[in-house]
């Protein structure tokens, strides 16, 4: 079949319809269409498909107002080009500047000072001259002011603005109100009193240098972090705009604050403006008498940063001492990377009016307050217990020889200090905490913490099972006690065999442990130490009857045998608590016991390794009118 007889493809039809095919091919297709009904139908179908495009073929008319505005705009004179240079001319000019700079450096200081004095005089003359002529009404750029020339001499004749070479930072933008109108060197004008309504144009916004440093103070009682960052801004003399954007972050715009760290007398932060219709943007209006680089501190609150404490303990073989390591994990979901941040962690309760994350997402920074966040009722802070139980920390268990293999060459210290109602942990040095990342840091490490390994049997609290505890105190005697221990999850490991391999003994959540307080870690059910109480005898006695022969009082006498089995290789201490459920009881036992409270007694037994021991006791409880006799 020759090409003429072949049907046209969809591509060919599109190319024909939209004049994409070369002329000779168009001719061929036209001829084919004249003789091929099927292809003509296909073409019609294609035309129908694209007919909807013509719905947007409406005629658009530029209004007379719009046209006249544009024409009016064009009546302003075009900024004249001062001169144009070719590439080679630029290179020559650069070379001349370089040579000039070198010559300047080689000049003795006295010459420079002399020159400066001369310049000052010239400027003074110029200034008074200009004011007389009424030039000072305009706000203009100050290309090389007196202070600017001093800066240059102090900075080894660095002619380029210091911020220019640094990489841009997306969050902040800086705008100068001035127009780029050239004025003689040293020219200094009055700043117009009326502040500008807005930056002349967003095109004038330029990027700022990176943060010089940043400090994070992370509170964990609420979703709250205080950020203090230092940035070097280059100000022009006059009105300046500094733009701050918090899109895609959780920064609370109502908390924004800006302070100059130098030249405070010459810089006035006049207002923070949240422009209408622009979402998540704030602009500071700054009036500056000073021209040049100024360090500023910007502070704000953000949410999305959090920290949690967790601990790992390894019991010695005899379970009389423990090595313990405390860690903190700092997580960043704030939407912002914090590089080389000084990080401080706060334990303490913060009074919150609004939820920061909600403030950050508001369309307009100010408005009706969001409902008050639910405060943690206890004095101890750390919410989020469930999170750890659900396994975030458990993933750490996958690491080899948990805890002990984590040896960093230069480990950061976490310095702790009390701070009024709070407790502050400062991480030594700086840390980079990137968005969506978490970082674990060692908080403390203590060896040879004397611990008491203890088993407890108490049916009223734990049911019919023996529970293992590790008991120690947060004090100097236990090589601890420097600081309170924040809430967190603790995991205890034991030495499993002679090679020193570890086995998981148990884990639990701990509450805030103040200094000098004792703590008992509940490690769960013990399987190698058993307690089996058996009721051996039960009888009633000493009935009292009333005048109608009804029983009004009686005694119940129970005899118990408790079997205690220690299948472990080490001696254990067991605390067995028996609750009689009444205040009126007497007890006979050959095994010593202590009265724990009004209804309970407690046996404290030391059981040798691989030993089964039995204790027996008889308890008589008094009921009805027998209780009166018991009291006598």
């Amino acid at each position: 079949m020759n090409k003429k007889e072949q049907h046209l493809t969809e591509q060919e039809l599109i190319e024909f319809q939209f004049k994409l095919a070369p002329d000779d091919r168009v001719q061929e297709i036209t001829q084919h269409l004249e003789s091929c009904n099927q292809c003509r139908e296909q073409l019609e179908k294609l035309k129908r498909k694209f007919a909807s495009l013509d719905l947007l073929h409406e005629e658009v008319r530029a209004s007379d107002d719009l046209i006249s505005q544009v024409v009016q705009q064009a009546r302003k004179p075009v900024k004249a080009k001062i001169f144009s240079m070719t590439k080679s001319a630029w290179l020559s000019a650069a070379a001349v500047v370089l040579i000039g700079a070198l010559l300047l450096i080689s000049l003795p200081d006295t010459d420079i000072q002399k020159k400066e004095t001369q310049e000052i005089d010239t400027v003074k003359e110029l200034k008074s001259d200009t004011i007389e002529r009424g030039f000072a009404e305009e706000t203009t750029k100050e290309p090389a002011t007196l202070s600017g020339s001093r800066d240059i001499s102090e900075k080894s004749y660095a002619f380029a603005p210091p911020a220019k070479d640094e990489s841009p930072q997306p969050v902040l933008g800086f705008a100068s109100e001035s127009d780029a109108i050239e004025k003689p060197s040293g020219f200094k004008e009055d700043i117009i009193e009326q502040p500008p309504f807005a930056p002349a144009s967003s095109i004038e916004l330029v990027t700022l240098p990176r943060r010089e440093n940043v400090q994070l103070t992370i509170y964990n009682s609420a979703d709250l972090t205080l950020v203090r960052e230092k940035r070097n801004l280059v100000l022009k003399r006059g009105w300046n705009w500094l733009q701050f954007m918090w899109a895609n972050t959780l920064i609370d715009p109502t908390s924004l604050s800006l302070e100059p760290l130098e030249q405070k007398g010459q810089i006035d932060i006049q207002a923070l403006v949240f422009p209408a219709r622009l979402r998540q943007i704030g602009r500071w209006l700054i009036r500056s008498e000073f021209s040049g680089q100024v360090p500023f501190e910007i502070t704000y609150l953000t949410s999305g940063l959090s920290w949690r404490a967790f601990y790992m303990g390894t019991l010695s073989e005899d379970e009389k001492s423990m090595q313990m390591k405390g860690y903190v994990r700092v997580s960043n979901n704030s939407g912002e990377d914090y590089e080389n941040a000084q990080t401080r962690l706060i334990v303490g309760q913060v009074h919150m009016l609004d939820e920061i994350a909600s403030l950050a997402r508001r369309q307009y920074p100010y408005g009706s307050p969001i409902p008050i966040i639910k405060k943690n009722e206890s004095n101890v802070l750390f919410f989020d217990k469930e999170e750890d139980r659900l396994g975030k920390v458990l993933t750490l268990g996958d690491e080899p020889i948990v805890g002990w293999a984590l040896k960093a060459p230069a480990r950061k210290e976490i310095i702790k200090e009390g701070l009024s109602e709070y407790f502050l942990y400062s991480i030594e040095g700086t840390e980079t905490i990137e968005n969506q990342w978490s970082k674990r840091l060692l908080s403390f490490e203590a060896d040879d913490i004397e611990v008491e390994s203890l088993y407890k049997y108490d049916e009223s609290r734990y049911g019919n099972q023996t529970i293992k505890f590790v008991k120690f105190a947060n004090d100097e005697d236990h090589n601890l006690g420097e600081t309170p221990i924040p809430d967190g999850n603790v995991k205890i490991y034991g030495v499993a065999d002679q090679q020193g391999y570890l086995s998981y003994v148990g884990g639990t959540d701990i509450k805030y442990i103040p200094v000098n307080e004792e703590v008992e870690l509940n490690l769960g059910q013990a399987r190698l130490v058993e307690v089996k109480p058996t009721l051996m005898n039960f009888k009633t006695d000493n009935y009292i009857f009333d005048s109608n022969d009804n029983i009004t009082g009686w005694d119940e006498i129970r005899s118990w045998k408790i079997e205690v089995i220690n299948t472990r290789e080490i001696p254990v201490t067991i605390e067995i608590t028996r609750d009689f459920g009444t205040n009126f009881w007497t007890m006979q036992s050959e095994t010593p016991y202590e009265r724990h409270d009004v209804t309970r007694i407690r046996f404290n037994l030391n059981i040798e390794p691989r030993v089964k021991r039995e204790i027996e006791y008889t308890v008589t409880t008094y009921h009805g009118r027998r209780q009166d006799q018991y009291n006598q």
Binding site: E59, A62, V70, Q73
Partner: protein, 190 residues
């Protein structure tokens, strides 16, 4: 006799205050139509319109006398792209173009004038919305090519000059745009 674009620009540079007005009148509707179709938003298009002619005014001395129309549309296109970039930086969802009748006021009014049947009006408005969405879903370059070639009736050569690329590239972009639209455009009666 109608003055050429080049002679108007020369006159403008020499200070003829009417010359620039004539240029704006000559190309204003076409440029505004292009910008509205590119942005989907009249307000934004009018801002870009002003910026485009401001740039023409400022850069008129650099016009070398080739195709003024292509040069003009190249300025408009570059400013539109810049606008897209800035808006993308400011808000990630800049493409949330409001397809309410507000943006199509004139068009809706003309449909309503030409049809007494409310259901026909509603159907047409819905179809227009679909066409707009289909065009807005195209990559910037394909969208610019389609609008310049199909709606603004520029030849492929002029489009190539406006977009600063070869005619082959223009044709490829156009073909890709058409292929994409074929999947998305609604069926209408001829």
């Amino acid at each position: 006799m109608k003055k050429t674009d080049k002679s108007l620009i020369d006159a403008h540079i020499k200070g003829d205050q009417n010359a620039f007005g004539e240029i704006v009148h000559r190309y204003g509707d076409s440029v505004l139509g292009y910008l509205i179709r590119m942005t989907g938003n009249r307000e934004q298009a009018e801002d870009l319109f002003q910026e485009t002619f401001k740039k023409v005014h400022e850069k008129s001395h650099t016009f070398k006398g080739s195709e003024f129309k292509s040069w003009l549309f190249r300025i408009a296109t570059n400013l539109t792209y810049d606008g897209f970039r800035k808006r993308r930086q400011v808000e990630s969802h800049y493409k949330q173009i409001n397809y309410t009748n507000e943006n199509n006021k004139e068009l809706v009014a003309s449909i309503a004038d030409n049809s007494n049947n409310p259901s026909t009006v509603a159907t047409k408005i819905e179809q227009i919305k679909q066409v707009r969405q289909a065009i807005d879903s195209l990559p910037d370059k394909q969208r610019a090519t389609l609008i310049l070639a199909y709606y603004q009736q520029l030849s492929y050569r002029e489009v190539a000059a406006a977009l600063d690329c070869s005619i082959g590239t223009v044709k490829t972009q156009m073909f890709r745009a058409i292929k994409t639209l074929a999947q998305k455009l609604p069926e209408v009666e001829l």
